[in-house]
């Protein structure tokens, strides 16, 4: 409906332009997070900004004395490390942390809760210490183990990445070459029921009923589209430091680390090509007698289950399109990873005239990778390298909105950049 288009167009434009303007920084180099093996997480309240600009009262884990974060800090540790997480609580009810997929977690200090030791609501006076050996590499997460139906909803969730012993000699997610990648990106998927946050903000605890769950915001790494595509650590999103803007060149391997951090299943659909799922719950899909991810499978939509983590590899070369995706003339030199049989093959159809088309801001004016073409005044402009952009989003399409405004939510963009384009 046309009345919604203006908001989409504007947001898309602002976001992508901001993102592109910041490409020169290191904000995209690796998955952001805290490295080491000893961490202090403080459960605090604060506000996150929805993609529609609304302030949402949120609980989150902070890096010690830092600001509340949604999601909590991504903890990046090395395989074999003895990991210590100290929890302090500045929230109005007891909080704890559980670490799915970790075995032999010990908890000391605080007060005995039902799932684990809890830090009481004492404004940070008590410290609970959780310890575990990060024995196996992979993608994990942590979340509150207290009053979960409210506290996870309120934001007490974060990612853990355990680097394999092979890392960084080999850029692998697990100790096998099947998990090798050129770029890695985190997709921590969550959702929020705004009414619950509003009632919590005003202390209307007796009105909160988590069985009437009705989410209206859907997040990747704590942001809604288009904010997902902004740079990390953008100053105007002080409580949402993480972004999600995957980029790669043809022929490269992109690792998706997908975490079901909320309550709902999400059918996550990376446009552009199938992905190969290589691991679930931080275990390579490996047969008992096999090696590597010999049980890996290909799919065009990845089901994300609450509490589950999925690692998948995405590759793209534009092979077998039946036309030359670079728009080469037959005698032109080949691009790296170009599909030779299509080299120089002409574009197969006649595109409509400009007056017949509605142009997207990410359209370069050319159907060819690394090329630009003529556009009417004011159109395009967001695709400075002539890359191919693909939405990576929840295919429950009601989840790519921000409250009542289309477009937003659980959506980001993959950009396949022409060779030579810098990707930090």
């Amino acid at each position: 409906m046309r009345t919604h288009l203006h908001s989409k167009g504007t947001q898309f434009t602002v976001a992508v332009m901001a993102a592109l303007a910041l490409f020169a920084t290191d904000a995209y180099a690796v998955i952001d997070g805290l490295t080491g093996s000893t961490f202090t997480l403080s459960a605090k309240d604060g506000y996150v900004l929805g993609g529609d600009g609304l302030s949402i009262y949120t609980w989150g884990f902070a890096d010690d004395t830092g600001p509340m974060q949604y999601p909590g800090p991504t903890l990046i540790v090395n395989q074999g490390a003895l990991v210590t997480v100290s929890l302090k609580n500045y929230l109005p009810e007891p909080v704890s942390i559980v670490f799915p997929g970790q075995e032999g977690v010990t908890a000391t200090g605080g007060v005995a809760g039902q799932l684990t030791q809890e830090a009481p609501a004492d404004n940070g006076a008590t410290t609970v210490e959780y310890q575990f050996q990060a024995s196996e590499p992979g993608t994990y997460h942590y979340h509150s183990g207290t009053h979960m139906d409210l506290q996870v909803e309120m934001g007490l969730v974060g990612a853990i990445i355990v680097r394999p012993t092979e890392f960084p000699i080999d850029q692998w997610a697990y100790n096998h070459t099947d998990s090798a990648y050129d770029h890695e990106y985190l997709f921590l998927l969550t959702e929020m029921d705004y009414d619950v946050h509003l009632m919590a903000e005003f202390g209307l605890w007796d009105q909160i009923d988590t069985t009437t769950f009705h989410p209206v915001y859907w997040f990747i790494n704590g942001r809604n589209f288009p904010d997902t595509t902004l740079a990390a650590d953008t100053p105007w999103l002080p409580n949402q430091p993480y972004n999600c803007l995957p980029r790669m060149h043809p022929g490269e391997r992109l690792l998706l680390r997908i975490i079901g951090g909320g309550r709902d299943l999400h059918p996550f659909h990376p446009h552009g090509n199938n992905t190969t799922v290589i691991a679930k719950d931080a275990r390579l899909l490996q047969s008992p007698l096999g090696t590597g991810a010999d049980l890996a499978y290909s799919d065009y939509t990845i089901t994300s289950l609450p509490g589950q983590t999925v690692d998948a590899i995405f590759e793209w070369t534009g092979a077998q399109l039946g036309w030359d995706v670079y728009g080469h003339a037959p005698g032109d030199p080949m691009e790296p990873f170009e599909y030779a049989p299509d080299h120089g093959k002409p574009f197969p159809v006649i595109l409509p005239g400009q007056q017949e088309l509605t142009f997207g801001g990410g359209y370069s004016g050319s159907p060819f990778l690394g090329a630009a073409g003529d556009l009417p005044p004011g159109e395009g402009g967001l695709n400075v390298y002539g890359g191919f952009m693909y939405p990576w989003h929840s295919h429950a399409e009601n989840e790519i909105i921000n409250n009542d405004i289309f477009i937003g939510g659980m959506l980001s963009l993959l950009i396949i950049e022409p060779h030579g384009t810098p990707i930090p």
Partner: protein, 338 residues
């Protein structure tokens, strides 16, 4: 059919009596089930007191309208078919006010669906197989042949949208051999975990007759408030479930008789997920999380390396009793002995 009277019941612990049975001949298991309305008391969300919920359930009798071996319950009694039996017969006694029927998804039987004609002359199914009329005076039999081992649900096959959520469901387990869930899949201990939900508003409407008349006319607004494992939500009084000892192969049988997908997450241990709906995977899956869609069963083996109480939580956050603030719903602790 061999009409020996076999009524093997178990409540979460491996029934060793199957070991005593004579194996080798194909025999049939036989049960008498009675369907009946009853009232279940569930915790008030305030944490104080209970709320009565009208339910429908099954109970085990020793013969048709004979000795009542059990009170009616939700879920219905677990039917543990002795290893080696190839047929299962359930004789049904329906004390409800509506016709019902029985299905076991994943097992083979001859089905005679019952249709009715709607106002536009279209045929619609009322029951997936033959019905047991309300207040039947002669028993109605449901027989499955060529039984396949595994973990299954039995459910009403009539007006499912209403009857299943009212409580007409239970678990059936069929082992390949004693202590062997499937051929080659042995276990030392087992835990049965049957998930289901209750929407009190629907139960009340069905019970007081307003469903389909002055109240809701379909189940489309289903909004469950209680989340049960083996018929009970978690409360602070819920005891841990015995899950064998360190080094045991412990079989976790997950069944979902609810209408929604659940996501059991086991903390502190990985499971080896081996089968779904009685079908063994080519390769087991090593996960701490499990997708448990409505109507599905999954079997997993855990081999604990340390004793303790391992939390099993529904990561869909159905861990509350009607929105109350105490831990409730689909939570259990699996107690592993040293």
């Amino acid at each position: 059919m061999n009409h020996k009277m076999l009524k093997t019941i178990s409540c979460g612990v491996l029934p060793l009596m199957t070991l005593a049975m004579v194996a080798g001949t194909a025999t049939g298991a036989e049960y008498y089930l009675r369907a009946e309305a009853f009232t279940k008391n569930l915790p008030d969300p305030s944490g104080v007191g209970t709320i009565p919920i009208p339910m429908w359930g099954f109970a085990l009798d020793d013969s048709f309208e004979g000795l009542e071996l059990q009170a009616v319950s939700v879920p219905g009694p677990r039917l543990t078919v002795p290893a080696g039996d190839t047929t299962l017969t359930i004789h049904l006694d329906n004390n409800l006010s509506v016709p019902i029927s029985l299905t076991i998804p994943g097992q083979i039987t001859t089905k005679t669906p019952v249709f009715f004609t709607d106002g536009q002359g279209r045929q619609r199914v009322h029951s997936f197989t033959h019905e047991t009329p309300a207040g039947n005076t002669t028993m109605v039999d449901y027989t499955w042949t060529g039984l396949e081992p595994g973990t299954y649900l039995y459910l009403s096959g009539t007006h499912l949208a209403v009857q299943v959520q009212m409580g007409l469901y239970g678990g059936v387990t069929i082992d390949a051999a004693a202590g062997e869930a499937y051929s080659g899949v042995t276990y030392d201990a087992e835990v049965m975990l049957l998930y289901s939900e209750i929407d009190p508003a629907l139960h009340t409407a069905v019970d007081d007759g307003s469903y389909g008349t002055t109240g809701p006319t379909s189940t489309v607004d289903y909004n469950p408030k209680y989340f049960l494992i083996n018929g009970e939500p978690y409360t602070s009084a819920t005891l841990p479930m015995s899950a064998g000892a360190v080094g045991n192969r412990v079989l976790l049988r997950f069944l979902n008789a609810g209408l929604q997908t659940h996501a059991p997450n086991l903390l502190g241990m990985y499971m080896s997920v081996i089968a779904e709906d009685g079908n063994v995977y080519n390769f087991p899956k090593g996960q701490y999380s499990l997708t448990l869609p409505a109507g599905q069963t999954k079997d997993a083996i855990v081999t604990p390396s340390a004793d303790g109480a391992y939390p099993l939580i529904d990561r869909r956050s159905d861990v509350t009793n009607a929105g109350g603030f105490s831990l409730g719903g689909m939570v259990r602790f699996l107690e592993v002995a040293p």
